[in-house]
Amino acid sequence: MKDLNEIQTTAVKDLLYRIADDQLILGHRNSEWTGLGPILEEDIAFSSMAQDKLGQSQALYQLLNQMGEKDPDTLAFTRSVDEYKCCHLVEYPIGEYDFSLMRHFLFDMSEAIRFNMLASSSFEPLAKISRKFKGEIKYHTMHAITWINQLGKGAGDSPVRIQKALDECFPLALGIFEPSDYEDILIENKIFFGEKELHEKWYDTVVPVLKNANLKIPEIKDPEISYGGRKGKHTEYLKPLIDEMTEVYRIDKDAEW
């Protein structure tokens, strides 16, 4: 695909912001576990994946920068809360490890499918980045599937905890797939297959894993209950997160850190 026209550019930028903001916020959340994990080896693994997310978000902000937006640090550290396009799921506090692992599983499975779809995007710069992320995301899903599977069948109160985490995360996860105003443009121009198809593929992938882990899929009464994030309407958790994340950056706006 050659140069994008104006509406296509807007559509792509919106998509990039959504993905990058999800990764920035979730990477930030997961970094809160560094040094505090349930066992040293897992602490190390979880921290690597948080770094991967941040690195991926930086690469996507970089692409946005090449498309005329500001530089990655400015985008990540100076926007106002309602300018972020992350979904509600990633904003929630880390909670206990069951919540964080379940969030990691549900979110990363969607990322893997999303980037797999984008690897053949007609917008080559995005396709290129997506192909580059393939290996990292593969590890994230391997990690997540192993943990959910083992804890779902684990001893003690583990199955109960994991089920509860699923009950809490599943409705939130549906907010990942909130459609943008540009779904048709993205689909028609083969830039992206769209949130609806992503949602379906995601559901078909996670459900067998969850069932195999002896978990019950929660009943969803309102699939749009966690919508809003993509349009700048966030949970109460995002502002304190952004305030904390930008605390030092805001000390001196002329400073180079």
Binding site: E32, L36, I39, E41, E42, I44, A45, S48, M142, Q150
Partner: protein
């Protein structure tokens, strides 16, 4: 540091810290946690790392994991997050059989058996002697 203002403020119930993550934990300063029992940090696995195809797998250390499947997942980050790697093996520590250092002596004479080393075969002198004798006899 003598600046008392810098001390963590310990209220009756919880610690307020400079670290916002710690404050969020609402930690008590009373040490009332049960000791960790044996094996609660799981068993150990030995990890072998192959840098690139063609290289040997080398032992790089051990880690704690509950089972082999998890050991491989955890080994990836602890032993290969920095280094080029194409493959990792994990083996339960208990499955590694060793000759033991108390049997180190079974290897004592190994380096001395020159009959099976290239360096154990030197014929230069013999050839030179033979050549010399041949010359003399003609």
């Amino acid at each position: 540091m003598s600046d008392k203002n810098i001390k963590s403020i310990n209220t009756i119930n919880s610690i307020i810290s400079i670290d916002p993550r710690v404050t969020r934990e609402e930690l008590s300063i009373v040490p009332d946690v049960d000791p960790i029992k044996d094996l609660h940090h799981w068993q150990t696995y030995e990890v072998f790392h192959q840098t690139k195809k063609g290289d040997r797998h080398l032992h790089v250390g051990s880690l704690h994991a509950p089972n082999p499947e998890m050991a491989v997942i955890l080994a990836k980050e602890q032993f290969a997050r920095r280094y080029k790697c194409v493959n990792l093996w994990v083996v339960s520590t208990g499955d590694v059989i060793s000759t033991g250092y108390d049997n180190e002596d079974i290897f004592d004479t190994t380096p001395e058996k020159v009959y099976r080393e290239a360096g154990g075969y030197k014929v230069m002198e013999r050839i030179n002697k033979f050549k010399k004798e041949r010359k003399q006899s003609t």
